[in-house]
């Protein structure tokens, strides 16, 4: 299967590259990877190679970013990715229980490490580090939406909204 980037997305990507000096295209790597992951949901080998070619880099230059930065994924995730903050202020505010609540509801293992996806492929749940909203603990994100002061009732509401 060949990898194609829709023309509209490629135009956006070409615009992003202009944000950096012409001989410093490599700097655009993270922005390109974000754009591709937002569109495709994850970063395939083809996406990585496409990025490298676009920026005049070796695939390893891009691959080493995807393996380092926690936000990038090399495999598909659920349609909705739930990120619960694990760090101190949220932990003091009950984020451990919140994470467990999601896992129980979705049939996942609250003690497993890393991102887990529900059987139907709809939801993924993971712990992330401090989301910079520690005053409204516990906090979480569902895809790009951000939620604060998340009670278990609010958590159920969030799940319910996901179509």
């Amino acid at each position: 299967m060949s990898f194609t980037v829709p023309a509209k997305l490629e135009a956006e990507i070409d615009e992003l590259i202009t944000h950096y000096p012409a001989d410093k295209k490599r700097s655009a790597s993270l922005m390109l990877l974000h754009a591709l992951q937002e569109h495709f949901g994850w970063l395939s080998k083809d996406a990585i190679e496409w990025t490298a070619t676009k920026l005049g880099l070796q695939p390893i230059n891009v691959f080493e970013l995807v393996t380092f930065y926690p936000m990038f994924r090399q495999q598909p995730a659920g349609k909705y990715v739930i990120k619960v903050c694990r760090t101190l202020s949220c932990a003091l505010g009950g984020s451990g229980k919140l994470h467990e609540h999601f896992c129980t509801k979705l049939g996942l293992d609250a003690h497993a490490h890393g991102l887990q996806t529900s059987k139907d492929g709809k939801f993924s749940v993971e712990f992330v580090e401090c989301l910079a909203s520690c005053g409204t603990a516990p906090v979480m994100m569902c895809n790009e939406e951000f939620y604060e002061g998340v009670s278990h009732a609010k958590a159920d509401e969030i799940l319910g909204k996901c179509g």
Binding site: Y20, L65, Y69, P70, T87, L88, A132
Partner: protein, 476 residues
């Protein structure tokens, strides 16, 4: 009476204030930029001329502004280190990574008053002959990035950005660059590597001081979001007026992020040094006290990297006596003025000004285990003491909190922590991961020893736990 002082947060949460450029301009927005661009060269007594840029940089120095990102370094001094003779372009980067646990102040500015930051950045660019600047925003702020991009477009449309801004002959451009979830991107040289499209491995200093060899090996200024907002106010008020805010050597205002076990967590802007830690926690205008029936156990005063303070701790602080001579005064932890120097004198730091309050419902062993897990996850892995040390501290704390602890773990933790910082690592993350361990175990040793001893007693000895609770990396 301790009180809030809203300089940076003036518009944030104000009734009717929205984050678009029209609202900002109705409230005096971009007038300070116009003022800065209109500054005339000044004649000096010796016949030389001082350029508008030099005057602005001088103002920032005179204001006493110290960086709000973590280290509290003089902003004026930092700007004066910039290599202006290399002939290379000079870059400015706004550090909007906001990733120090406990910190949520830059988020408020970015979301609710983005133009204040942009105006501060344009003035800072002008003052430092910068033509191209970036806002490095953490990847988990997608909404913040969208808001900033929209605000930058609005500023471009009004010619506050772009070519020949407001007819001044200056070309200035700012772009948003998103990170992707790594804490180490907050460290300025890691940030620069990341902005260059690489793994964010911090660079060794010397020689890679950003002011000389920064972004693309060009002179570069990295400042925190809040710091750059202060620049706007310094130019607006004048350096002398600004320096009247706060206390000597700790001028201006500062946004404190208050979280943990208080009734009213939140962001509170204060004049630096005019409010004490105790007031931040207990005063009705701030944290409003602990939850009912709870007692204070500990305070993390400046983000999770800062050394913890214990309830009831006393410090000797130097103060000016009535005769002007320095006297030493015994000060309770709650009476420490919240500023850079007092917290340093108390053996810790104000760091990113994130105060995390811990009451007696929490177990300090669990708290430290949570903190150390963060550092084990976030070490970039370049330096052996940091990579291995942060992991071993976290593993040891994991066994202590999962039934596999030992009496000797407290000493073991301190031994590891003592061998990480102090010039053995490339960046200050080495300190950041050790300080919590050194201070928590140092100040609450009995809790750690008791936990390990109880585990040992339950197992009937050390050995039973060994292979189960802590699997060495190489053995799996």
């Amino acid at each position: 009476m301790p009180q809030q002082f809203r300089l940076i947060l003036k518009n944030v949460d104000a009734a009717g204030f929205t984050n678009d450029i029209d609202c900002y301009m109705r409230n005096g927005g971009y007038e300070t930029l116009k003022k800065a661009l209109a500054i005339a060269p000044k004649d000096l007594p010796d016949g030389k001329k001082m350029s508008p840029q030099e005057q602005l940089r001088d103002d920032v120095k005179l204001s006493g502004l110290r960086g709000r990102g973590g280290a509290g370094f003089s902003c004026g001094l930092k700007w004066s280190f910039v290599d202006r003779r290399s002939g290379k372009p000079i870059y400015l980067i706004c550090n909007a990574d906001e990733s120090e646990p406990g910190t949520f102040k830059d988020r408020q500015i970015i979301h609710k008053d983005p133009h204040q930051l942009i105006e501060g950045m344009i003035i800072s660019c002008f003052a430092n002959d910068v033509k191209l600047a970036y806002i490095y925003i953490r990847g988990e702020f997608p909404e913040g990035a969208r808001i900033l991009n929209r605000a930058l477009n609005e500023a471009r449309a009004k010619n506050f950005l772009g070519k020949n801004i407001l007819g001044s002959g200056q070309d200035i451009e700012i772009h948003v660059h998103r990170g992707a979830g790594a804490y180490i991107c907050g460290e300025e040289t890691g940030l620069i590597e990341s902005l260059e499209g690489k793994r964010p491995y911090p660079r060794i200093k010397p020689p890679y001081f950003p002011a000389i060899l920064g972004l693309w090996m060009c002179p570069t200024i990295v400042n925190n979001v809040e710091t750059l907002c202060h620049v706007k106010h310094i130019v607006q008020m004048g350096a002398a007026e600004y320096a009247k805010l706060g206390t000597p050597n700790n001028t201006g205002t500062r946004i404190v992020s208050l979280s943990g076990h208080v009734k009213k967590p939140g962001y509170y802007e204060i004049e630096v040094g005019k409010v004490t830690l105790g007031e931040l926690i207990n005063h009705p205008d701030f944290g409003g006290g602990l939850l009912d029936g709870r007692k204070l156990k500990a305070i993390i005063p400046g983000g999770s990297s800062s050394k913890v303070l214990k309830a009831g701790e006393k410090f000797k602080l130097k103060k000016k006596g009535p005769d002007g001579k320095d006297i030493e005064q015994e000060t309770d932890v709650l009476d420490l003025p919240y500023d850079f120097d007092s917290l340093m004198a108390a053996g810790t730091m104000s760091g990113s000004s994130a105060v995390i309050v811990i009451d007696d419902s929490a177990d300090v062993v669990e708290v430290l285990a949570n903190i150390s897990e963060f550092y084990a996850h976030e070490s970039c892995g370049q330096c052996t003491p940091c990579r291995e040390g942060s992991l071993w501290m976290s593993k040891t704390l994991h066994r202590l909190t999962h039934g596999g602890g030992r009496k000797g773990d407290a000493d073991y933790l301190v031994k590891i922590a003592d061998n990480i910082p102090g010039g053995r690592t490339i960046c200050a993350f080495g300190e950041a991961c050790s300080w919590p361990v050194q201070s928590f175990v140092g100040k609450f040793k009995e809790d750690f020893v008791a936990r390990g001893a109880a585990d040992e007693a339950k197992r009937g000895g050390i050995d039973a736990s060994h292979s189960k609770a802590v699997a060495p990396v190489s053995a799996t």
